[in-house]
Amino acid sequence: MPLDKVNVDTDQMVPKQFLKALTREGFGRILFYDWRYFPGEKPNPNFVLNFPRYQGASVLLARTNFGCGSSREHAPWGVKDYGFRAIIAPSYADIFYNNCFKNGILPAILKEEEVDELFTRTEAEEGYSLSIDLPSQTITDKHGLKYNFEIAPARKEVLLKGLDDIGQSLLHATAIDAYEKGHTATAKMYETVDVKYYSNGR
């Protein structure tokens, strides 16, 4: 699905009224809410996500600085829940990029001219499809196009192995203990405050 707009922010992906949830589920239905629906939730036929030809798309083609703004992880939850498994763009905002890996979404980075070419091909051919191979870091189509994308080795491993990163970090519990013992000045709370300052201390 080609989203031909630079600097798409996470407020557009999941607007504020949906941030009052208690779970990570169900954000696909409201992804790009204000662009996708007229008031009253009538689908806007002019928004690309509603084009019949892009129904069921699993690759989101985007422009520079995708996912800028708010740190809300609701944005990648929406991207994933909608059915996108990978995003292709020339660049991403840092927090969104990071959040993608926490949710098993591949944010592939290609050169600007390569992304331009993919936009052209997607718009020219109905049903245009891409194959993305993470181990070899390649994107191919059936007409012989082949691009290599960048990804840090550690990031790639997370996606391929689906690692529980909290579990991985807890393997270093001894190092964390040692750090806390060796850095009492910063890893300590100064308890000079009266309990009246907190509400749950009443």
């Binding site: 630079v6 992880e73 959040n99 840090a152 909290i166 509400s199």
Partner: protein, 473 residues
């Protein structure tokens, strides 16, 4: 010894574990949480049978959805109510301190951290909110994280991070009268673009930054994220230490003196190299007003709404065209000819005492223009609110026709009842003018507190330099 930047010093101090070619495990000194991005993290923790490792280093507050009118009334918004209840329950179960909406210290998370002295130089601070960069004003490494990372920090008090590149943003010279910290950061974003700092941690330096109060430095660091850099920082100095002394969570007496000696080392060494440097001259910055749908779409109040054809890049042309359509603006319109419907002075960017004092000074004895439908003052915290009331600022504002509200995020994000209606135009001291940010189809113009106050009085944008603005920070 190798010369290091401030960022590198803080980074090196917090490495718990590192391996070549892999991201490092970094210790987090303070973790701030709020009702909006924490429920799923606590649920995840519970599902895995994990505990909060350091509840004593974790602080919770209700801010995003809290009402700014009478809090003793029942919460009407059921979804918001459930989030408040979840936060209270999660904190009670895990022993995390909570400043709930009835606490005298409640406020926006990035306001109360520094205000209560939870934020201290040299720390690493994270929060599930992108404006965590605010705390960098104290020489901390502070940045926003997603909910999965919130869960990670709750469980481990650490984060897995790769080192960022360094960006030195130097603002030389003296700010002209009427030009504030907000104008400096908007001018910076206008220059580097909203993706200009991606992958970087920014350090602000130069005479114009040093001359700012802590409130002003926090405004600058707050909006670092709008320039793409996840964290922004200012090296601590005597201004910082004077601000900190005596705050509730700051060490006292001999401990404070020792801390200050340690904090004095937190500066970039002579000869240390940044990956990038950007330089601005404060004398050339005028009061800023955004005209588009991201904070980089900004110009001086003396300027005009641009024409899409002013831009060389095709993507920029398209973005400008779409932004002007959304904003209901014609190319070439002088900024001062744009009328305003509502005024919002608040948010983690500009709701501190300096902001309120400067705005009050400007509106004292004047009245909000007839065409203004609403003018809101939302202090960043109940502490600020109480101090402002002690100084009589609330009366100055209400007599001028402003509404004086309780503390919270309010119309910056519109998660409570303070929403900007469709097609209405705001002069807002907040940080984001994205489509729908303050309310669906609403039109946001980001400005400084004095510019917002002046727009409220005039009914349209005006050059604040024409007003009496002696006390501007």
């Amino acid at each position: 010894m190798t010369a290091k930047t401030l960022y590198e010093k803080i980074w090196d101090h917090h490495v718990v574990h590192e391996e070549p070619g892999k991201p490092s495990l970094i210790y987090i000194d303070r973790h701030l949480i709020h009702e909006g991005t924490s429920p799923q993290a606590f649920a995840g923790l519970k599902a895995e049978g994990r505990k909060v490792r350091r509840p004593d280093l974790t602080f919770a507050v209700m801010d995003h959805s809290v009402p700014t009118k009478d809090r003793l009334l029942p919460i009407v918004d059921q979804d918001a109510k459930l989030q408040f209840e979840a936060l209270a329950k999660n904190c009670a179960e895990t022993g995390v301190r909570l400043f709930d909406m009835h606490s005298q210290n409640q406020g926006i998370v990035h306001i109360i951290g520094p205000e209560l002295g939870i934020t201290q130089p040299g720390q690493t601070i994270v929060c599930g909110d992108s404006h965590t960069s605010t705390h960098g004003a104290f020489g901390t490494l502070a940045f926003g994280i997603g909910t999965s990372e919130v869960e990670h920090v709750l469980a481990t008090q650490c984060l897995v991070q790769s080192k960022s590149r360094t960006l030195n943003i130097k603002v030389t010279g003296k700010r002209p009268k009427g030009v504030t910290a907000k104008d400096i950061i908007l001018a910076i974003i206008g220059k580097i673009g909203i993706g200009g700092g991606t992958g970087c941690v920014a350090e602000f330096s130069g005479e114009a930054i040093r001359a700012l109060s802590m409130d002003g430095r926090m405004t600058v660091c707050n909006m670092t994220i709008e320039g793409g850099a996840r964290a922004g920082m200012v090296a601590p100095d005597d201004v910082t230490f004077a601000y900190m002394e005596g705050r509730p969570f700051v060490p006292r007496g001999k401990d404070f003196q020792e801390a200050v000696e340690r904090w004095r080392l937190l500066k970039t060494d002579d000869g240390a190299k940044y990956d990038m440097t950007v330089e601005l001259r404060a004398e050339e910055i005028g009061p800023q007003v955004t005209w588009g749908t991201n904070p980089g779409m900004v110009t001086s109040v003396a300027g005009r709404v641009p024409d899409p054809h002013d831009f060389k890049d095709l993507n920029d042309q398209k973005a400008t065209e779409s932004a002007l359509k959304y904003m209901g603006l014609k190319p070439g319109t002088p900024i001062v000819d744009i009328p305003v419907d509502r005024v919002f002075i608040g948010s983690c960017t500009n709701s501190r005492l300096d902001d309120l004092r400067a705005a009050a000074h400007l509106v004292a004895g004047k009245h909000v223009a007839k065409n203004i439908k609403q003018a809101l003052i939302v202090p960043g915290s109940r502490g600020i609110k109480a101090q402002a009331e002690k100084e009589g600022l609330d009366k100055v504002f209400t007599q001028a026709g402003f509404e004086w509200r309780d503390a919270g995020c309010s119309m910056c994000i519109g998660m409570n009842a303070d929403v900007l209606p469709p097609q209405e135009r705001s002069a807002s001291t907040s940080n984001r003018n994205f489509e729908g940010r303050q309310g669906r189809d609403s039109r946001t113009h980001l400005v400084s507190p004095v510019m917002a106050a002046a727009a409220a009085i005039a009914g349209h944008f005006v050059d604040v330099r024409e007003f009496d603005v002696a006390h501007v920070e």
